[in-house]
C-alpha cells in the first residue's frame, strides 16, 4: 500500500482501443492522502488509456485504489501528481468550478445505490444535468422522454424513485448519466444493489449502449459482471496489476 509513487512503471500501460484515439488517458497519475502524520498512497503512478467506444472493467480487492481511480476519472478529485486528459483536455489542474463543468459536459455517473433524488420525478431526475447546463425546460423535457425510452422506462416519467423497483431506478440513473451525452460513462458497482437477474438486465443495457459507441468504465469486484467488459484492468496496491483483453 505504501509503495513510493512512480517507483516502477506499471505493466501494460494502455489497453489497445481498436486503433481509435484515446478518449481518456492517465499519465503517471498518483494520489497521496495525508492522514495525520502518515501519507497514504492510494494510487502510485497509474498510466491508462481508454479508447473511444471501449468498455473497461476495473477490478481489484478493496484498498487496491479502484475507487480512487474512479473518483479521479470522474473529476471528483484531483491527482497529486501526473496528468489526466479527457478528449484531449488536461483536467488534472482545474479548479472546483472548472471540474464541475467537465463533469457536467463530459462525464456520466452510475452509482451502486442509484442515487436518484427522492423529491424529483423520474423525468426531473433525468433532466437534472440538462437543468444545470441551462437547457430550456421544454427541450430538456423532450430529451428526458427520449432517454427514458432508450432505457425502457417510457411510461414512468412522472413516477417518484420510491415507486420504482431497484432495476428501474438504476435504469433512470443510466438515463440521467446519458442525458449530457458524455464522453465517458462511469459506473461504480452498477449491479451491487440488485439481484442477479436484474443485474444482468442492467449489464445488457450497458452493453447495448457500448455497442452503440458509448465509452464505459466500470468498477466491479464480481468476475461475471466484469465479463461484460472487453478489457479488465486489475488493480493491486495502487497500481495496475494486469490488463486482460
Amino acid at each position: 500500500m505504501n509503495a513510493p509513487p512512480g517507483a516502477r512503471p506499471p505493466r501494460g500501460a494502455a489497453p489497445a482501443g481498436q486503433g481509435a484515439a484515446a478518449v481518456v488517458s492517465l499519465r503517471q497519475v498518483a494520489k497521496v492522502y495525508r492522514m495525520g502524520e502518515a501519507e497514504v498512497c492510494a494510487l502510485a503512478g497509474v498510466s491508462l488509456e481508454f479508447a473511444a467506444g471501449s468498455f473497461t472493467a476495473i477490478m481489484g480487492p478493496s484498498g487496491s485504489g479502484k475507487s480512487t481511480l474512479l473518483n479521479l476519472l470522474g473529476c471528483l478529485d484531483r491527482p497529486t501528481a501526473g496528468s489526466y486528459f479527457i478528449a484531449g483536455e488536461d483536467v488534472s489542474r482545474l479548479d472546483d468550478d472548472e471540474l464541475s463543468e467537465i463533469r457536467l459536459r463530459k462525464i456520466g455517473f452510475v452509482f451502486q445505490s442509484f442515487n436518484l433524488i427522492a423529491q424529483l420525478s423520474v423525468r426531473e431526475n433525468i433532466e437534472l444535468p440538462l437543468y444545470y447546463q441551462g437547457w430550456p425546460h421544454a427541450e430538456s423535457m423532450k430529451r428526458a422522454e427520449e432517454l427514458a425510452g432508450i432505457v425502457g422506462l417510457g411510461g414512468r416519467l412522472e413516477h417518484r424513485p420510491n415507486q420504482l423497483s431497484g432495476g428501474q431506478q438504476q435504469r433512470v440513473a443510466v438515463a440521467r448519466a446519458l442525458a449530457n451525452d458524455p464522453e465517458v460513462l462511469l459506473a461504480d458497482e452498477p449491479t451491487g444493489n440488485l439481484d442477479s437477474a436484474t443485474g444482468v438486465q442492467i449489464m445488457d443495457l450497458l452493453r447495448g449502449l457500448n455497442e452503440q459507441g458509448k465509452t464505459i468504465v466500470m468498477v466491479t469486484h464480481e468476475p461475471n459482471i466484469a465479463a461484460y467488459a472487453a478489457q479488465r484492468v486489475h488493480m493491486l496496491d495502487g497500481r495496475v496489476d494486469r490488463i486482460e483483453e
Binding site: 478529485d77 472546483d96 464541475s100 463533469r103 455517473f109 442515487n115 433524488i117 437534472l128 444545470y132 449530457n180
Partner: protein
C-alpha cells in the same frame, strides 16, 4: 426564459419543502410570529402617537401661543386677604408684536371671563372668549348653524355671540336659536352661530373649551372690563388682566422658532415679572415626533428579537436539512452542479420559507391591531412603511440565516457526500 428558470427554481424549492410539510410549517411559523409582531407593534406605536400628533397639529404648526400666567411671587403672598394682582399680557403687547416682527402674519387677542349665560329659562356658566374674527381662522372649527364672527360685529349695534355645540346643547339652543337673545352676565347678545368644539386631553391643550361663548373683544372689554373679582371662602381677590392669551400666526413654519425667541425676548423686556408663557406647538410637534420615533424603535426592536428567533429557527432547520441531504448534494455535485448552484438552491428554499412566513406574518400583523382597536379601543395605524419594512426584513432573514447552511452544503466534498449514509 431567464424568468421561467427562476420560477422553476422556486417551484422546485417549494416541492422540496413540501416533502416535510410539518417541519416547513413550523419553521415558517417562527417567521410568521416574528413579522406579525413587528407589524403589530409598529401599528400600536403609530396609533398611540398619531392621535397626539393630530391634536398638536390642530393647534397649528405655524402658531405661537402666549398665555398670561400669575407670576410666582404673587401666588406666594396669599396672606393678604384682599389685594389686586396685576399681571399678564397687555393690549400693547399684542400691538407691539404685530408691528415689530415682519414674520408675524396676524395676532389674535383672547380675553377670558367666566359668566353665567341664560337662554330662555336655562342657565349655564360659560367661558366668554373675547376675541377678533381672526380666531376662527386659526382655530378652525366646523360651523353647525348660522355664521362665525365677522367684521360687521366689530361695529354693529347688536352684540353678536357664537356658541360651541356643547354649550348650545346644554342651553337647549338649536339651529332655530340663531337670532335669539343670550344673556351673559348683565349684557344681552344675539346668537349668530354655533360651531363644533374640540376637547383638550392628554397634555395637549386646545384653545377652545366646551362651553365657550365667542364675542368681539371690544365688546368683552367694554362690558366686562379688565378686572376680575374672585371670591372664595370669604376672601376676595381682584385680578387685573388685559389679555389672557395672544395667538400669533407666523408666515411660515421655518420662522416659528426665531419669532418665538424674539417675542420671548421682547416680553422679557417689557414685563417686570415673568407673567406670561410662550408655547410653540411646532416644538411640541417635533418633540412628540421624536418620542414617537423612540417608541417605534423600542417596540420594533422587541418585535425584532422574535423575528431573530424565527430566523435562527430557519437556520437550524436548514442545517438539519443539509445534513440530511448530504447524499443529494453529492449527487448534484457529481452531475456537475457548481458550488454557486448548490448555494442558490438552498438559499431559494430558505427565502421561500421566510417569504411565505413574512407574507402570512404581515396578514397576522395587520389583523392583530384591528382586534386591539376592536376590543381594547386603542387606536392603531398599520402604515405602508411597516409592511414594506417587514417584507424586506423577512426576505433578509431568509438570505442571512440561509447563507451559512447553503455555503456549508456547497463546501461538502462531493466524494465524502456521495459516501454519506
Amino acid at each position: 426564459m431567464h424568468q421561467s428558470r427562476v420560477a422553476r427554481n422556486i417551484r422546485l424549492g417549494i416541492k422540496t419543502l413540501l416533502l416535510h410539510k410539518l417541519r416547513s410549517f413550523l419553521t415558517t411559523l417562527g417567521v410568521v410570529f416574528g413579522v406579525g409582531s413587528v407589524v403589530a407593534m409598529l401599528a400600536v406605536g403609530e396609533g398611540a402617537s398619531a392621535e397626539a400628533l393630530e391634536r398638536i397639529r390642530k393647534l397649528g404648526s405655524d402658531n405661537i401661543i402666549l398665555d398670561s400666567v400669575k407670576a410666582t411671587e404673587d401666588v406666594q403672598s396669599g396672606s393678604v386677604r384682599s389685594r389686586i394682582s396685576i399681571y399678564g399680557l397687555t393690549y400693547d403687547d399684542q400691538d407691539r408684536i404685530g408691528r415689530t416682527f415682519e414674520a408675524v402674519k396676524r395676532t389674535v387677542p383672547v380675553k377670558l371671563v367666566r359668566k353665567e349665560g341664560r337662554l330662555g329659562d336655562r342657565t349655564l356658566e360659560v367661558r366668554v372668549v373675547g376675541t377678533s374674527p381672526d380666531w376662527f381662522d386659526l382655530v378652525r372649527r366646523e360651523v353647525i348653524a348660522g355664521r362665525l364672527l365677522g367684521a360687521e360685529d366689530e361695529h354693529g349695534s347688536t352684540n353678536a355671540v357664537v356658541l360651541t355645540e356643547y354649550g348650545a346643547r346644554r342651553l337647549l339652543a338649536t339651529a332655530n336659536s340663531i337670532g335669539q337673545t343670550l344673556r351673559i352676565g348683565s349684557g344681552y347678545f344675539q346668537v349668530v352661530g354655533i360651531v363644533r368644539n374640540e376637547v383638550s386631553s392628554e397634555g395637549v391643550q386646545v384653545p377652545d373649551e366646551e362651553v365657550d361663548a365667542y364675542i368681539p373683544i371690544h365688546v368683552a372689554r367694554g362690558m366686562f372690563g379688565d378686572y376680575v373679582v374672585r371670591r372664595s371662602s370669604g376672601s376676595r381677590e381682584q385680578e387685573f388682566v388685559e389679555l389672557h392669551q395672544i395667538i400669533v400666526q407666523v408666515r411660515s413654519t421655518e420662522e416659528v422658532a426665531a419669532t418665538a425667541a424674539g417675542i420671548e425676548a421682547m416680553l422679557a423686556r417689557f414685563h417686570k415679572k415673568v407673567d406670561y408663557k410662550v408655547r410653540v406647538p411646532l416644538a411640541l410637534l417635533r418633540s412628540a415626533e421624536a418620542t414617537k420615533r423612540t417608541f417605534n424603535i423600542v417596540l420594533g426592536s422587541i418585535a425584532g428579537i422574535s423575528l431573530l428567533v424565527g430566523g435562527i429557527g430557519i437556520m437550524n432547520i436548514m442545517l438539519a436539512s443539509v445534513t440530511e441531504r448530504t447524499r443529494e448534494i453529492g449527487v448534484r455535485r457529481a452531475i456537475g452542479a457548481k458550488r454557486g448552484q448548490i448555494i442558490s438552491q438552498f438559499l431559494i428554499e430558505t427565502v421561500v420559507l421566510s417569504s411565505v412566513g413574512g407574507a402570512i406574518g404581515i396578514g397576522v400583523g395587520a389583523l392583530i391591531p384591528w382586534l386591539i382597536t376592536l376590543f381594547a379601543g386603542m387606536p392603531t395605524v398599520v402604515t405602508a412603511y411597516s409592511i414594506i419594512l417587514s417584507a424586506g426584513i423577512s426576505l433578509a432573514v431568509g438570505l442571512v440565516f440561509g447563507l451559512y447552511p447553503a455555503v456549508r452544503a456547497a463546501n461538502l466534498d462531493p466524494i465524502e457526500a456521495l459516501r454519506h449514509e
